[in-house]
Structure formats: C-alpha cells, structure tokens
C-alpha cells in the first residue's frame, strides 16, 4: 500500500487521501469474491480490478482538474475518502466482517521455539515480488522512463510527443491497485475487515512514505522496515505506547528533514 502511495505522491505530486479507502475496498471486495468463488487468487485479482477501476474514476473526474494544487488535492481526496468509506458501510454494514485465510497457507511452521505463520511468509514473498516488479517497471521500461521524466517536467514530456495524461492516469490507477491489493492481503492477516481500518492504515502508509522520502521506492522499503521495527519494539516493551511511537517518529522525521530520509525533494 505504501508503495502505491509513494508512486502517486512521488511521481505525480498528488496527495492522495483515498488510499485508505481503496485499501478497505480491496479488503471487502476480496472477501466478497472469496466467498463467492472460494479462490483466493481470483479474490486478489478482483481487488486489484476494483482498485484500478476506482483509481481511474477518481483520477479522471476529480484529481485531473487539480494537478499542481496541493490544497485542493488534499480537500478533494478527503471528500472522496468520506464518500467511499461510508459507501462501504452502506454496502457491507458497519460491523467487522470476519475473513478467513485460504487453506493452503493457513498453517504454521515451527522451528525450535520460533513459530512462523505461513501467511506471513506468503506476504513477504508477495511484497518482495511487488517491489521487484515496480523497480523493474520504473528503471527498465519505456513506461518507467516516461514516468521518471514526467516527475521533472510533464510539459517537456508532452513536447516529446507523448500523451502524458494517459501515463498519469495509468500511474494513479496502478497506485490504487496496489492499495487495494494491500487491503486484500492485509484482511486475512488480521482476520477481519471493518470500515475504520482505512484511516489507520492511511496514516501508517503516509508515515512510511514520508519517512522514506516521497517517490523513492528504496525509501519506502526502508521506511516500512523502520516502522515495523519500532512498532514491534515498543509493543514489546510497553504496548499502550505503540500508536504514539509511530506518530512521534513521523513528527520527528518531518520536522528534522521535511523531505524524508531518502527524499529526492519533489520539485514543483
């Protein structure tokens, strides 16, 4: 999810608050489709499809008019967040819905005293795959080349004979799809989905992105590791402080280095 946010924030310079919403939509859609089809991978694909669809709609109708206007972006995406979060309550009800892990990765492995759930391993594998895929896309393909050029000067990319808007939509939809995939993968991990899940994860993802530096995938990865370790450590020593620790970390990093730890300083 953070990866998706980082793409949109870093490459498009768009502050996107709909990601938490896309995250829960991914979760709900995957559970719904999982229930219908019984196939976990079809459920994941459905979540991705939902993410792409919503991302395209958001970008076309609402975000496109406000490229370059950060304040309006914050306001509009907050508005969309409100609508679509409440839509979830309308469609699936306000109460948490339980989610089952697919059978084939529901077990645990035990090595001596260490117990590892297979699902966590599965998540790590997917995470690594996604990271490699994005990295390849950005650095090795023509699409990635255009995206990198577009971060610097969308106008100049147009002057190269390229319709940058199509790429912007694509990037936005791609980011949205990642958020939805994140939601679909997260839900079986915690065992249920509820509508309030979005905002918490939104904040966490923003923290990861900002910590790592906007638009830097390497940064995002390091950011999520730092967050993961901090949360793990604090919850080990003094659980009630867990929520505060991440937020305080964010405040510290932002106030010391507003562009993030690995920020390439988005120029706009």
């Amino acid at each position: 999810m953070a990866a998706g946010l980082s793409i949109i924030l870093g490459l498009l310079g768009v502050v996107n608050f709909t990601h938490g919403t896309l995250f829960i939509w991914g979760g709900y859609v995957s559970i719904w489709v999982f229930g219908l089809s019984g196939n976990f991978f079809i459920a994941l694909l459905a979540a991705i499809a939902a993410g792409i669809l919503m991302g395209l709609i958001f970008e076309r109708l609402f975000v496109r008019p406000v490229y370059g206007n950060v304040t309006a972006q914050i306001l509009i995406t907050l508005g969309l967040m409100t609508i679509f979060t409440d839509m979830v309550r309308l469609l699936w009800g306000p109460n948490p819905i339980p989610a089952n892990r697919p059978d084939f990765i529901d077990g645990t492995w035990i090595w001596g005293s260490v117990i590892i759930s297979q699902y966590r391993i599965f998540l790590i594998v997917i995470g690594v795959l996604v990271a490699i895929g994005i990295n390849f896309l950005i650095n090795r393909t023509r699409v990635g080349m255009i995206m990198r050029a577009g971060t610097q000067s969308p106008d100049m990319v147009q002057a190269m004979g390229i319709n940058i808007k199509v790429y912007f939509s694509g990037v936005f939809a791609g980011g949205a799809a990642l958020a939805a995939l994140g939601g679909a993968l997260y839900v079986p991990l915690v065992g249920s989905v509820w509508s309030g899940m979005g905002i918490n994860n939104q904040i966490l993802a923003f923290i990861v992105v900002i910590l790592g530096g906007m638009g830097s995938f390497y940064g995002s990865a390091v950011g999520s590791i730092i967050i993961g370790l901090t949360v793990a450590m604090v919850s080990w020593f003094y659980p009630p402080l867990t929520v505060y620790s991440t937020v305080i970390l964010l405040i510290l990093v932002l106030s010391l280095k507003p562009e993030g730890l690995f920020g390439t300083a988005v120029r706009r």
């Binding site: 306001l75 900002i210 507003p258």
Partner: protein
Amino acid sequence: MAALTNIISKNLTVKPVQALLLFLLLVILLIIPMISGMTTITLFSRIFILAIFGMSYDILRGFTGIINLGHALFFGGATYIAGILFNRVGPTLDVLLLAIITAFVLSAIIAYIMGQFAFRGTGFSGVIACAMITLAFGEIVRHTAETLRDYTQGADGLTFRIPEMFQDRFMMYYYALIFLIVMTIVLRQFVRSPTGRVLQAIRDNEQRARFLGYDTKKYKLIALVVAGMASASAGIMFALLTRFANTELLTVQSTLNALLYTIVGGTGTLYGAIIGTGFVQIAQNSLLELRGIHEIFSRWLIFFGAIYVLVVLYMPKGIIGAFYQLHASWQKRKKHG
C-alpha cells in the same frame, strides 16, 4: 433605530445598508426562539456554536493558507475538559470558569507545540508535512481520549451535568447567539489587525512575505494559537449545549466538518463560515428527515463527501464567492444596459 444602525455601522465599519440588514437579521434571530419549537432552537444554537468552530478554521485555511487536519482536537478537547471537570468537581459556574481557563491555556500550548513542528517545511513538501503532522497530533489526542477510559468513558461517550444557568434551552439559544456575535467581532478585529494582514500576505505568497522581512513562521504560530483558542471556546459552548462528549468530536471527520463549513460558505471571509455552518447543518437535518423515504438519506457522510468534492471543484469560493460573482456581473450588466 436610525441611531442604532448608525452606531453599528460606525463600530463595525460597514455601510449603512449593510448595517440595516444586519440589524434586521439580528431582530429575526432574536424572535426565532419565541415562535418556533425546541428542535429549531437547538438546531440554531448548534449552528451558532459550530459557526465559531468553522470561523476558527477560516483563520487558518482562509486567512493564512494552512491546512490543519487535527483542528478538531481543540474543539473536542475543550468539550472533554469541560465535561470531565463538571463530572469530577461539580457543575458550577466556578468550574466552568476553570474549564475555560484550562481549555484556553492548554489549546495555546498545544497549538504552539503543534506549530513548531508543523511549520518547518515550505513549499510543496511543506504543505504535505503540515497536513500530516497536524493529522498526527489530532490522532494522538483522539487515541488518548479513547485510552483514558476512566476519565472519558472511551468510545461510549461522556455524559455530564452542566451549571443550572445553562440548562434552559431557550436561554441557551441567546447565550449561543451572544457568544457568536462576540466571537465574530473579536475574530474580525483580529483578521483586520496588522497581524491579520500579514497572515493574508502569507496566504497569498509566503515567500514574498518572508522577503518583506516578516518571520512567517511566527505569524503562522499566532494564527494557529488564536484559531486553537477560538475553537476551544466553541468546544466549551458545545459542551454546555449537548452535555455530552464522545470521541467522534476528535476525529478527522470532525475537522473536516469545520473545513466544510468554511469552504461551503466561502473561505477567507469569516462570515462565510456562519453561512456555511447554517447551510450544512440545515441540509443535514433535512436529509435525515427524508430517511423514511429511502435508506440512502441516512448516509449523511456520502452527501457530506459529495458536497465537499463538488464545492472544491466547482465553487472554490463558496456561497459568498458565488454571490459576489453574481453581484459583480449584475452590476456590470446594469452599467452596460
């Protein structure tokens, strides 16, 4: 009456026509509770109080150009302070005074600390950093309120008794109205003061303001402290009106409410917040009454979000802005015709 409009017009530096309209409006507002039911009275009291919350946001968004996503903490925090003190010490006027002082001092301190962190960056990443840090502060306070169950009753919400003087709904209406008028004048003086003008310079072009020799961070801090305290005062009044506080008041949603009031009415106008609050609250009430017709009308938030997006996209200057535009084109036509 002419003398009275004259006085109003002189003291508030408005044109006599406007003063007359203002006076009529005041008379109408004074009469309303005598001719309408309890629901309307409460609705209007609510609007008066929330309008201050909205105006306090306008100081930030409209006059200084700051997006504060944790603004609800001042409002909800003050409601909680009042509620907790009334419960723990007792529902007396002395305690109310204590609550006001505590809320003011705490808001000022928190606003100061919040600003110290939030106003470090400038430009593109600065705006995002500010939004995120204020959001984080808001979430910290909300989370604290949820955790300190002994004091706040957690998610169940806190009910409390209030001083006798404020228990009468009818009188409460007038207190709220007076409160609105006083705060409007205070905030109006503030935005018209030299400090207020610097804030508007920062909103228009922060870099230029800095080049002119203004310590822009200091001025933004002042704006945040003033807005924080104004919203805390609204929070206390809200406590007196509803006699209830829950963590909803502290959520991002609550901040978004204040933002919506200002952008619907028109940012940077102060009065816009009053109009916006009235519009949004009345719209919300009427929609809820349609609940019987279709279930979707009970999903206020969907409409809320829709208004939000539409206003930002198509009416960025709000109702007041649209009015001025109409007025201007009408005058133009008159001139040409």
